[in-house]
């Protein structure tokens, strides 16, 4: 049978493309953020902060597009689930952009030559690399409606969470020097931001599963972790 509502489906596809391109913007922002962190590059950090306006702009654009589509086209079934999922995805894009800003803001505060604990910095940089990969994977899973790939994000997130806990251990053992301890405290904020971004990527994976199955379920339940009643 001939395709009907072509204009509507083109519009929906375009909104998805825009929302997922928002994830590319986040990946760029995160890579720059981690580069700025490793090099103490205050200017690059400032660029990340300024560029967040573009991510916020993308959020507003997609959000407005979705409201308009809902009002005019009344999508149903898979289309409706996609629209609902896109609202979620674009929110995560905006949140992850803000996390990059949170990290970037700490960079000038640590001073020109901070008292770095190498093990803590390298752990954070490794977390950054892994979270970048998770965001890319969440995009790929969503675009391909690949539930298996989406569920795989859980184990990757667990690895990031372990590294986050490791950051605490290293910070606690940072020694007596006040400046070093202060730096380590700030880095715990960075670790926390990265850990949250990993969660955002998992949430996007959950939305992928929602589109495909029609049922929303959390891949892992933070309030009722397995084995704990």
């Amino acid at each position: 049978m001939p395709e009907t509502r072509q204009a509507f489906h083109d519009e929906l596809t375009e909104l998805e493309t825009q929302a997922l391109a928002g994830l590319d913007m986040v990946v760029t922002a995160l890579e720059r953020t981690m580069e700025a962190l490793s090099q103490q590059d205050v200017e690059l950090a400032a660029m990340v902060i300024a560029d967040d306006d573009r991510i916020d702009g993308r959020y507003l654009e997609v959000h407005q597009g979705i409201l308009s589509l809902l009002a005019r086209q009344a999508p149903v079934a898979t289309d409706l689930r996609l629209v609902a999922a896109l609202l979620d995805v674009i929110k995560h894009v905006e949140r992850m952009g803000d996390q990059c800003v949170n990290i970037a803001k700490t960079i000038p505060l640590t001073g020109h030559e901070p008292p770095i604990v190498p093990e803590l910095l390298s752990t954070l940089l490794e977390m950054g690399r892994r979270v970048t990969q998770m965001i890319e994977q969440s995009k790929k899973a969503f675009a391909g409606r690949n539930v298996e790939l989406a569920e795989d994000l859980v184990s990757r997130d667990e690895a990031v969470n372990r590294m986050h806990r490791e950051c605490f251990r290293i910070a606690l053992e940072a020694g007596e020097d006040v400046d070093t301890r202060e730096w380590a405290m700030m880095m715990l904020g960075v670790g926390r931001a990265l850990e949250r971004m990993g969660d955002n990527a998992v949430d996007i994976g959950e939305q992928t599963a929602f589109i495909v199955t029609g049922l929303f379920r959390e891949f892992t339940d933070a309030s009722h972790p397995a084995g704990v009643s």
Partner: protein
């Protein structure tokens, strides 16, 4: 032939004359609070000449629920609904097989009186069709008059029906004016009042709003919501949003067959059958 009525049969029927066919009397329910009756379609097939319109269809309509029938033009949804009050057979060359049960009574049983079926199962059509030469009052009164209601009772019945159709306040001062002088939406509510006046158990609506403007449409939809507390309602609609707004259950038909039936929310968020998905999301139709 006399058909003995067993005690299990609902109704207020009394001894029948030997040549009388069995009639579907009101189930004795309180019209203000009573429940509608379940309609069960079993293995229903309908033809126009050699052409199938409905094919071995099974479907149930729950009492006091609104069920919407959706599907592309020519899918057999109107024919199926017209089989429920035995209107399909009025067209020359048509044929019906299968069962339509009102609770446990088969509407197609040989001994059944067709007129009483149409009283028990009322129908509202696409285009408002008030009797053109009759006043507002007579449009509603004509049905109950035929069954012998008169005087004060008739007046009360007319008022009650017009109130139930949410039209009373608009027409109470011009009951003697022609029915066709009302607006399109009012005419349709007049037709609903006319249907309710004979105290049906089931109300069928075949595209009742397709000739109405959006405001008149919403008024009819509000009315449907109210009527379902007393009747079983089946509505055929091309308007998917309307099905979403008014129906508890939605059934999707294609080429004379039932593809899927389920809670309206499920049909419009996660239908089971791919053809339903394609249709409700407008990918064909």
């Amino acid at each position: 032939m006399t058909i003995p009525l067993t005690s299990s049969q609902r109704g207020t029927e009394t001894e029948q004359a030997p040549d009388q066919k069995r009639r579907f009397e009101p189930s004795g329910k309180d019209q203000a609070t009573g429940a509608g009756r379940r309609v069960s379609i079993k293995g229903l097939s309908a033809w126009y000449g050699d052409q199938y319109a409905v094919k071995e269809l099974d479907l149930e309509f729950e009492p006091n629920k609104v069920t919407a029938i959706i599907g592309p033009s020519g899918c057999g949804k109107s024919t199926m609904v017209r089989c429920i009050n035995r209107m399909h057979e009025e067209i020359p060359g048509t044929r019906v097989e299968g069962e339509v049960l009102l609770d446990d009574q088969d509407l197609y049983a040989n001994e059944v009186d067709v007129t009483s079926v149409r009283r028990a199962v009322g129908m509202v059509f696409q285009k408002p069709n008030p009797f053109p030469t009759m006043s507002v009052y007579d449009n509603v009164a004509s049905g109950p008059k035929l069954s012998g209601t008169k005087g004060k009772h008739l007046k009360e019945r007319v008022e009650q029906s017009l109130r139930s159709a949410a039209l009373w306040d608009e027409v109470k001062d011009r009951l003697d004016r022609p029915g066709i002088g009302l607006s399109g939406g009012q005419q349709q509510r007049l037709c609903i009042a006319r249907t309710l006046a004979v105290e049906p158990e089931v109300v069928l609506m075949d595209e009742p709003c397709s000739a109405l403007d959006p405001v008149a449409t919403l008024r009819i939809e509000e009315l449907i919501e109210e009527l379902k507390t007393r009747y079983t309602i089946v509505i055929v609609t091309h308007n998917m949003q309307q099905a979403g707004r008014v129906a508890d259950s939605t059934a999707f038909m294609l080429t004379g067959e039932l593809v899927e039936v389920g809670p309206t929310e499920t049909i419009f968020t996660k239908p089971t059958d791919d053809r339903t998905e394609q249709y409700v999301s407008g990918r064909f139709g």
